[in-house]
């Protein structure tokens, strides 16, 4: 155990020394090559692939800027912004009033920017014959009133409800817009039997192998081996599948804005980056990843 550890330490030290020697001379030759600004970007797991793609494209054209992107959930990102350890927080939901007042208490002023739109897809196993559901049916399924697939036009079998953990912005959106049908006074909760999975991958892995399961996730995370259910507000229809087109036209009922929050109005590199995100190149990346671009 000890010799390898010592070897690692030695390696690390050597690396530090080499970097220390090499740094200044490299800088002397090409002053613009070394990144001078680092933007910390963290938050929503729904947005993490999108944020990564943006960061990569932006760094390719702006070598002086380094952007580090991590996930963790909308709540995690906003908490880091409030604690002052972050430049940009990604969130798939609006900041909550509690978070807002906490930020103010910490001397942080969160400024909101809508950067893209997302559709929430309801997904089932490809062997499940159910292909359309109303919001009311989804609400009854997730609140525990409906427990068998036969009640919504499927085969006899228990419904296994899958959800993201409570720190996910997608969870909060689904609670407000589906389980509570968008009614602010409604206090319906998820059935206690609802499985709370820590990742999008956990949900798709379970649905892929379990014909009883139903779940929801951002459209960007839906792979072709999952079956997307068409959703309607009314039982009479129209039932729509989520896509850039149906969301853009306002026909698909389960769509939301994706946000970036910064501390106060930013200037400099962060502002330039956000300006770029609203531009045409960045919004083309949005479409490529299965999200919905902002209306031009």
């Amino acid at each position: 155990m000890h010799p390898p550890l010592r070897a690692q330490l030695a390696l690390l030290l050597t690396a530090v020394v080499v970097a220390g020697c090499g740094g200044p001379s490299a800088n002397g030759n090409q002053p613009t090559a070394a990144p001078s600004t680092t933007i910390e970007n963290k938050g929503s797991d729904t947005m993490v692939n999108l944020a990564l793609a943006w960061a990569e494209a932006y760094q390719a054209s702006h070598p002086a800027v380094r952007i580090s992107v991590t996930g963790g959930g909308s709540g995690t990102g906003l908490a880091a912004l409030i604690n002052g350890t972050l430049d940009i927080a990604n969130a798939s939901r609006r900041i909550k009033p509690e978070e807002q007042s906490e930020a103010q208490a910490n001397g942080v002023d969160p400024v909101e920017l809508v950067v893209a739109r997302d559709a929430i897809a309801v997904i089932v196993n490809p062997n499940n014959p159910v292909d359309h559901l109303t919001i009311d049916q989804l609400s009854d399924i997730y609140s525990g009133k409906i427990g068998n697939w036969a009640e919504v036009g499927g085969e006899d079998g228990p419904i296994v409800r899958l959800s993201r953990e409570t720190n996910s912005g997608t969870h909060v959106y689904f609670l407000e817009e589906v389980v509570r049908r968008g009614d602010g006074q409604d206090v319906t909760l998820f059935a206690p039997e609802t499985l709370l999975l820590p990742s999008s991958e956990g949900i798709s892995a379970e649905i892929r192998q379990n014909p009883n399961a139903i779940g929801y996730d951002g459209l960007g995370y839906v792979t072709p081996d999952l079956k997307v259910v068409a959703v309607a507000r009314e039982a009479s229809g129209p039932f729509e599948l989520p896509s850039a087109e149906t969301v853009g036209a306002g026909r698909y009922p389960l769509s939301r804005d994706l946000y970036m929050y910064t501390n106060g109005k930013q200037a400099g590199e962060t502002a330039a980056y956000q300006q770029w995100i609203l531009g045409r190149d960045a919004q083309a990346i949005v479409t490529g990843l299965g999200f919905v671009p902002l209306a031009p």
Binding site: T166, N167, V172, T194, L196
Partner: protein, 297 residues
């Protein structure tokens, strides 16, 4: 002469500090937990804490589903890990030929070094679908799946420590048993195992201690549904453990909020449970040793 006593003085002091520091750390950890978790008792009524609903973002802080979930998963893991772990230890220490022993022991210790997240991956991709189809359950993300994984995590610890304990039993005990006409099995069950009892008990406690504190693997396969377990059937339903709850929710809570304090209260409960388990184990070992000493004297 003076320098020798001086260095001895320093070394004694160092060793003493090292010994007491363990107590100090435990004390500090407990004080920290208490400071962060105790405010809960003022903020959340006791009735709410012992209710059966856990939904923290709407102010439901019932701890019963979490405590129940941890108990179900850990007991399930114990039922799997103890027989398998002891069986393997007995086989390696008493029955296996030399070559099998040289091969098995390092392999099992290697298994003990596997990061639990990797086992979680295996669990989510292989074990869950196997459990669902074999037992014909609605979903494979159940307490039982978690118990299987935790059992797997606890077994290497149990085998390794129990095998050392069995190995330490003097040869003369076994020879005496065999000389009295006992079969090999009778010698193992009636002589060797009782003689190694305190070491074997320590092995079980260490293994289960690893199981109850394990987080990642459990979070990935138990489904995390906060349902109060109501019987043996709960083993085959999804469950949410205390450790998974802390891990999943700690990153999100605001410092000093009610939810934050409740998560620390869960930490206190976890601390008290493992303290109780350890105290029971050491008192059992202690009582055993005293009786043995009486017989010998």
């Amino acid at each position: 002469m003076r320098s020798v006593t001086w260095s001895e003085f320093v070394i004694t002091r160092l060793i003493k500090t090292a010994g007491y520091s363990a107590i100090l750390f435990i004390g500090l950890i407990f004080i920290f937990l208490l400071r962060e978790g105790a405010p809960t008792l003022l903020e959340v009524p006791l009735r709410s804490l012992i209710s059966g609903r856990w939904y923290p973002i709407e102010g439901y802080f019932g701890l019963l589903p979490l405590i129940g979930g941890s108990l179900v998963v850990t007991l399930g893991a114990a039922m799997i890990a103890i027989p398998f772990g002891l069986g393997t230890a007995i086989y390696i220490a008493e029955i296996a030929p030399r070559w099998a022993r040289e091969l098995l022991k390092p392999l099992i210790e290697l298994l003990g070094g596997l990061p639990s997240v990797m086992l979680g991956f295996l669990g989510i991709l292989v074990l869950t679908s196997w459990v669902r189809t074999t037992l014909d359950l609605p979903t494979g993300l159940t307490a039982f799946t978690g118990a299987l994984l935790l059992g797997g995590i606890a077994i290497p610890t149990i085998v390794s420590v129990a095998e050392d304990a069995l190995d330490a039993v003097p040869r003369s005990y076994r020879e005496a048993g065999l000389a009295l006409g006992a079969t090999n099995w009778q010698t193992i069950w009636r002589v060797t195992l009782p003689a190694a009892r305190s070491g074997v008990l320590t092995a079980i406690m260490l293994g289960l201690g690893r199981a109850i504190g394990e987080t990642m693997a459990v979070m990935m396969v138990t489904g995390n549904a906060p349902v109060v377990p109501t019987g043996l059937g709960a083993l085959f339903h999804p469950a949410r453990t205390m450790t998974a709850t802390i891990a999943a929710e700690m990153g999100e809570v605001a410092n000093g909020s009610v939810h934050y304090h409740v998560l620390f209260l869960i930490g206190i409960v976890l601390f008290l449970i493992s303290l109780a388990v350890n105290l029971t184990a050491s008192s059992l070992v202690f009582r055993e040793r005293k009786r043995a000493e009486r017989i010998l004297s």
